[in-house]
């Protein structure tokens, strides 16, 4: 019974923890401009993160070593350094975007400018990562993120034009007034929002730290294969409500305030408050994960002691990297860069560096020296290779499309 409860809690946490500022921004923008024409990208992205996280979780669980440690050993320090730099920079950008997302959610609740909230959010985040019991916080914010389900109910409540939405979802083409380069630019941003490397570092590092064994692989797979797709459904809520409320009027979404408006239109003040609470929980949870992931990548590469379960004194360098990451994120936000714009850039650069983190995990997942008979089977490799092609194609196309479309403009 206790085990069942743990599994259920794990799944619920994975659902609530799946959505972050990248998902919210990219799905709302895509829905407002293209309706449901990108729904298939969300499906492709969710399957992709399942493939990626399952491999990383298995590698970490079977080898009982963190992913970056293995990458460095398997590919050599020089290649792994390029890998580290790419991952670290993207994780930092994501951290800044998440802190900005939390501050924007607080602005919507209080009316006070988000820049006033940024230092306070950063301070609470640092204290939480330094002092608080992480598992409790993870559960609280993961479960808090479940209030995003209000958007899925809103989809039904807002009298959706079912025939038009069905047509959009199956047309796989941009609607009138939009062009193909922008369509693909948005597709890459959406794909990258689902396949964020920090989620995988966090997931696999957690597996090592909590001492998962081969017996726990089942739980890991249940979390991945149930939690992430259901989390993807929450992200679909933003896509669909934007498609219903904004797309028919030709209004493009580019602020968090717009993204949550459909909940207010459907359910009034309570619906809006629930959704903003969900956004707060999702982005704060993601900020905790990205803050830790920044520390994980550096500490694992350099062979330092690391982990959220270790006291700061036992892993001083790891905690210093986490603190420096938070300070850099705050500095970036205090330049007054728009957090939503920062998120858009983060998604595109995340797509560019994704092969650097995806390929090594695919290589290690096929290495019998580390995984014995737990290496990728035929099905896992088939998916792994298909996604390698997709990931590389997205990485190659991201910057040219960004320039061609003027950031999707």
């Amino acid at each position: 019974m206790k085990r069942l409860l743990a599994i259920t809690l794990g799944i619920l946490t994975a659902i609530g923890g799946f959505v972050d500022i990248g998902d919210i921004v990219s799905t709302s923008e895509a829905g407002s401009r293209f309706g449901l024409a990108h729904a298939w990208v969300l499906v492709v992205g969710v399957i992709g993160i399942c493939v990626y996280a399952e491999m990383a979780g298995r590698v970490a669980t079977v080898s009982t070593r963190p992913v970056f440690d293995l990458v460095r050993e398997r590919l050599g320090p020089r290649v792994a350094l390029v890998n580290l730099l790419g991952s670290y920079l993207i994780t930092l950008m994501t951290l800044a975007a998440e802190i900005g997302g939390v501050a924007l959610a607080l602005q919507l609740l209080s009316g006070a400018p988000y820049l006033l909230w940024v230092p306070l959010v950063a301070l609470v985040l640092w204290l939480a990562l330094w002092r608080a019991k992480f598992e409790t916080l993870e559960r609280i914010f993961g479960l808090g993120g479940l209030t995003l389900v209000v958007l899925l109910v809103a989809v039904l409540w807002l009298h959706p034009p079912v025939a038009a939405l069905r047509h959009q979802a199956f047309s796989l083409a941009p609607p009138a007034g939009e062009n193909w380069p922008t369509y693909w630019f948005m597709a890459i941003a959406l794909f990258a929002s689902a396949m964020t490397p920090y989620e995988v570092f966090f997931f696999s590092s957690g597996a090592v730290e909590e001492g998962w064994s081969a017996r726990d692989l089942v739980i890991s797979r249940v979390n991945v294969f149930l939690g992430f797709p259901l989390g993807g459904l929450l992200a679909f809520g933003f896509l669909a409500t934007s498609a219903i409320v904004f797309q028919p009027g030709g209004i493009q979404v580019d602020t968090l305030g717009q993204a949550v408006l459909p909940a207010g239109l459907a359910f009034g003040k309570i619906g809006l408050a629930l959704l903003i609470l969900g956004v707060f929980a999702a982005t704060f949870g993601a900020a905790m994960e990205t803050g830790l992931s920044a520390g994980y990548t550096v500490a694992q590469y350099l062979g330092w002691s690391w982990g959220k379960l270790l006291r700061p004194r036992q892993a001083a360098r790891f905690h210093t990297v986490v603190l420096v990451g938070i300070l850099l994120a705050v500095a970036a936000l205090l330049t007054t860069i728009d957090p939503v714009q920062l998120t858009e850039y983060m998604l595109i650069f995340s797509a560019v560096v994704l092969p650097l983190t995806y390929l090594p995990i695919l290589v290690v997942a096929n290495d019998r020296g580390y995984l014995g008979d737990r290496v990728n089977g035929r099905l896992a490799n088939a998916f792994g290779v298909v996604y390698l092609i997709i990931v590389v194609a997205a990485a190659v196309a991201a910057i040219p499309l960004m320039v061609m479309t003027g950031m999707g403009g």
């Binding site: 020089r78 602005q107 919507l108 609740l109 209080s110 009316g111 007034g177 409320v245 904004f246 009027g249 030709g250 209004i251 493009q252 979404v253 580019d254 602020t255 305030g257 717009q258 408006l261 207010g264 239109l265 009034g268 003040k269 809006l272 408050a273 903003i276 320039v403 003027g406 403009g409």
Partner: protein, 152 residues
């Protein structure tokens, strides 16, 4: 030899990005570029006005809390100001572009005035003024939408 390649590749990439960026940022604006800037600015203004209308109407129905509406209208005005600044920062390269400027400029000005009126009315909690301000956004939105459709 391999180490040299490692050093040369990033330097070459930085030089290439610098060169392309420099060319793009200093190349003169032609009629096509100007039209694109005008349409982008009009679309941003339309997004701001359209969102303000939705939020204003919902506020009148008592469906949205004050802080949220304040924040949303702030965002709308900031987006409009950004669009107007981007448009004003580009000089029309020829006669047809100047005509485009002459059409869009008043639309952006009336959008700013209408949004300001709605912001004041909601801050003061004046329902009649809020209703009037929301209604006043309608022709502005239609004008901006027509501009985007015509010149896209």
């Amino acid at each position: 030899m391999r180490a040299r390649w490692w050093a040369v590749l990033p330097v070459a990439a930085v030089v290439a990005v610098w060169g392309v960026g420099g060319y793009l940022s200093t190349s003169p604006t032609d009629r096509q570029d100007y039209r694109k800037t005008a349409v982008r600015s009009a679309q941003s203004a339309y997004n701001a006005v359209g969102t303000a209308r939705l939020a204003g109407r919902a506020r009148l129905d008592g469906r949205l809390p004050g802080p949220y509406v304040t924040s949303t209208l702030d965002d709308a005005r900031a987006a409009l100001a950004g669009a107007a600044k981007r448009f004003a920062g580009t000089a029309p390269p020829d006669e047809p572009s100047a005509a485009l400027q002459a059409r869009l400029h008043p639309l952006l000005t009336s959008a700013d005035v209408a949004l300001g009126r709605l912001e004041r009315a909601t801050e003061e909690g004046d329902t009649a003024a809020t209703r009037a301000a929301v209604d006043a956004l309608e022709p502005v939105a239609a004008g901006l939408s027509g501009f985007v459709e015509e010149h896209r």
